[in-house]
Amino acid sequence: MSTLFQDIRFGLRMLAKSPGFAAVVVLTLAIGIGANTAIFTLVHAVMLKSLPVGNPGELYRVGSDENCCVIGDFQDNWGIYSYDLYKQFRDHTREFSELAAFEGGRDNLAVRRAGNSEAPQPYIGEFVSGNYFQMFGIGAFLGRLINPDDDRPGAPPVAVMSYRAWQQNFGGDPGIVGSTVTINTVPCTVAGIAPAGFYGDRLESDPPHFWFPIMAEPILRGRNSLLKHPEENWLYVIGRLQPGARVATVQAKLTAQLQHWLAAQPNVEASDRPNIPKQQIALVPGGAGVQQLQYYAKDGLRLLAVLSGLVLLIACANIANLLLARAAARHGETAIRAALGAARWRMIRQMVTESVLLALLGGAAGIYVAYGVAGAIITMAFQGARYVPISAAPSNAVLGFALLLSVLTGIVFGAAPAWFNSRVDPAEALRSAGRGMVERGALTRRSLVVVQVALSAILLIGAGLLTRSLRNLEDQQFGFAPEGKLIVRINPALAGYTPEKLGALYQQLEPRLRLIPGVLSAAYSQYSPMQGANWEDSIQVEGHPPDERIYASFVRVSPHYFETIGTPLLRGRVIGEQDTPTSPAVAVVSEAFARKYFPKDDPIGRHFGLETPANVRNYEIVGVVADAKYADPHAPVHPFFFLPFLQSPKGEPDYMVRSQYAGAIELRVAGKPENLQAVVRRTLADINPDLTVLDMMSLEEQVGRQFNEERLISQLTALFGLVALILACVGLYGVTAFTVARRTNEIGIRRALGADRRSVLSLVMRGVAWQVGLGLVLGIPLALAGAKFLGSELYAVRSYDPLVVAGAAMVLIACTIVASLVPARRATKIDPMVALRYE
């Protein structure tokens, strides 16, 4: 033990003696360990952590699918359920001590404090079953939480507020508990405040501000309520399993209940019935709640973990190189120690101690780097979010990870040099300078540079591919023009509009908005492109057999919609003022729709309808517009149709009444869209003070947020690639400078024998070219093999894109040439006199 202290003391002294060296190493390590710790911070916070609830290990989720938010069809592998189905599970599965249900989607709320005349403010709410908080095992911070009594038909509506909303929006006023707030024009009593850390049943950005009992759903949503629709699945279910309950048994039981329940449903289509035995439920650990975020973040995090690992490897190679050079310089000293009888393991331990010390210093600095990087990643990944319950602050797990990584790193980069240095022959202490001996460790040093170049090539090619992919995504033809558009999100339901009253609102909306100076045209629609919404159903198309399963997405749009959004009309006409509630029901279809369902003939004048064959003549096609991307910017366009508001032919499914609510206003404006925000707010408040603006942003911003993850990953990869490139260049510089220094005498002799500067330069650069060339030869195939795994992340880029590969190689070659030219030029200046002077 005392010798270990001695080693540590000596190690510290050696580091203090060469502060420049120590600083370079610590900085390099801070970057390498920092990058990995940052990614680990996120992996830990996102993938490994449980919800802040009681005994999360006992929680199980009924269903493993992450699909959201309202699903009418069979799910095969079920994850989301109707209220009826939930009740079935709750009342017939005794293996759960509590089984709670909660909404899959999120409700926008318009909230106003009682007695306050200001415009209602937008908030986010969630309907939960009465035992939701009980099931999670948490108590109120203030007041009380929702209990099963609140969740009975006829119970007065209550709300539980999140601690954060209470602090940030209600000033932490304890008087709020027991008071009344107006939610979507309905008075609700605030029962209490949830505990500080609680953010709900899943990790998500902008978690709910309010929780309501499910029984309040018809009161707050009015005609849009889903509670009494057993065919609509909108609730996730999580329960606490009784001790001793077997997962497999419960799972089988739930599946049996599901199939049984489906078979008993009268409105299940005959064509679906044969599929009932195929419907099943998986019971999965629910301690982390619903794992939508985890599901989407998984691949990206894995990629970043691999890339940051590469950066650390490069950093290690770099430092091993520096240490090797230092070891070589200390060779004489080591030979003397060996001659004095130092045991080999003792010398190795001394040197590894020194490296671990360095690594710990680097790790400590790396924690700061990690904190900054993780914070930046969270901001970038959730751009547009107001709050993300993920902290970049290092937790104990993160600190432990950094410590472990540092020690491991220290051993990895310290072991090779220590090994080499300990292989001295004590007799060398007696010989004069080791003239004519093959340079010790030179091969290792060069191999390390080759490895660095190869790893950098991988990172650079990865960065190039991802950047190109992002560029392609952003620059693609969306089928609408994002520039100069302002999108205003609203929900008239929150202002108390029933479907009957919508007509009056819509009549005012377009003319009033169009009059705003700077607005060139105005329109509204059920939802806007790239807003994250998608309505989709099966359709019946004239001329197609009724049992052909055809799906299409749709959206209701107002007159002037297409000219406002910039989607060109290809044939026929667009939806216009003439399409009123009383005129014949019409539809405009997308090019893909026309091509797919009317490949041979003109779709204009043909008919289709939703779901059942009886509806097949519901809508008459009056126009064809260009394809546009509404949901997933990565996926190819799919068949789409557009319906006018307020038309509702006989036989339209019940849920279609909800589609009558306009969710977005589109404004085509002159100048910067953001400039109009205040006047738009005022105009809407003029129309109806209860009409809450839920969100407002330019369409470009809305589209841009679709690429948060891609942008994050491509920028981080580029950053990692840059770091790798710099480290590799520093490494190459170091090795070249070291080689030149070691070969000073040899180069002097060559000069004395008549080598001119060019041949000295080419002598040095030949070595560089070998290392870089070999690095590329190794790195490029590895990168291409690795890029296959990128495949799913890449958009319109081949994983072997020759331009990217060539570009990465050129950048590497150029940078390494620059890095090695400095020492190479120094070599050409070596005085031939050294050949004479050398003793």
Binding site: I749, L753, G754, D756, Y838
Partner: protein
């Protein structure tokens, strides 16, 4: 042996070159400036070396022998004075011209052998020819000849570390003579060798001289100085004495 003292420079005109003179130094000085200290390593050297001559330079440590040799070998240039090689003045030459002349006209033999550890015996000897851009077949022949001449042709594939000191120095001699230089310069060629090996190298040089080579050798050892036809004695940067064998 009759010592003659040379105390003053030869009269002007007397030092002009003729067909037999290979090297002519006229008042060559060398001053090193380091950290505000001036070291006068050479303070006015007047020296002629004829073709085919075997000259040795001796003197106490630090008197300027190596400095003189490095100027003779174009490794360094004088601070002042004239250096004429083969009747052409060398003062105004560019670095690349000096490199070229060094490669063609000068052969070096160093005390520490200075073979390149990473190259084989063959490649070491070939090196000066490579820098000359000589075609491969001609190079091979010349290297072969040079190695045979020093009796090392059986070791072409060896690395310097695998040879004894005497063998290494013989290879170094081969490297010096392979380019058929006008003069071979040797700085203490026996300094790192035992007496037996030292003697052998000296005999090799003497034989080369007999075959017509011009040699200028620095040595401490009076025994070896006697191998030369003429010895100049250096003291404090000046030639103080000249002896002839």
């Amino acid at each position: 042996m009759e010592p003659t003292t040379q105390s003053k420079p030869p009269a002007p005109g007397n030092g002009g070159t003729n067909g037999h003179t290979l090297i002519h130094l006229d008042g060559v000085t060398k001053v090193f400036f380091t950290d505000e200290v001036e070291t006068h390593a050479l303070s006015g050297i007047y020296l002629d070396i004829r073709r085919g001559e075997y000259l040795s330079i001796s003197g106490p440590s630090g008197c300027g022998k190596s400095t003189l040799l490095s100027i003779l070998g174009l490794l360094d240039s004088p601070t002042d004075g004239k250096y004429t090689l083969n009747e052409s003045p060398l003062e105004a030459l560019s670095i690349s011209d000096r490199t070229r002349i060094r490669n063609r006209e000068i052969g070096f033999i160093f005390q520490a052998f200075n073979l390149i550890g990473d190259l084989t015996v063959y490649e070491n000897v070939e090196l000066p020819l490579t820098y000359r851009g000589m075609p491969g077949s001609e190079r091979r022949q010349r290297v072969q000849e040079a190695l045979e001449r020093v009796g090392m042709s059986h070791r072409v594939k060896h690395y310097p570390a695998q040879l004894s000191g005497g063998q290494q120095q013989r290879v170094a001699v081969a490297r010096a003579l392979v380019g058929k230089p006008s003069i071979m310069l040797a700085d203490e060629p026996t300094g790192n060798l035992d007496s037996k090996n030292g003697e052998a190298v000296m005999e090799l040089l003497r034989d080369l001289h007999r075959e017509g080579a011009t040699i200028c050798m620095v040595t401490h050892d009076p025994r070896y100085a006697d191998f030369a036809e003429r010895t100049v004695h250096l003291f404090d940067g000046r030639i103080v004495e000249e002896t002839r064998a």
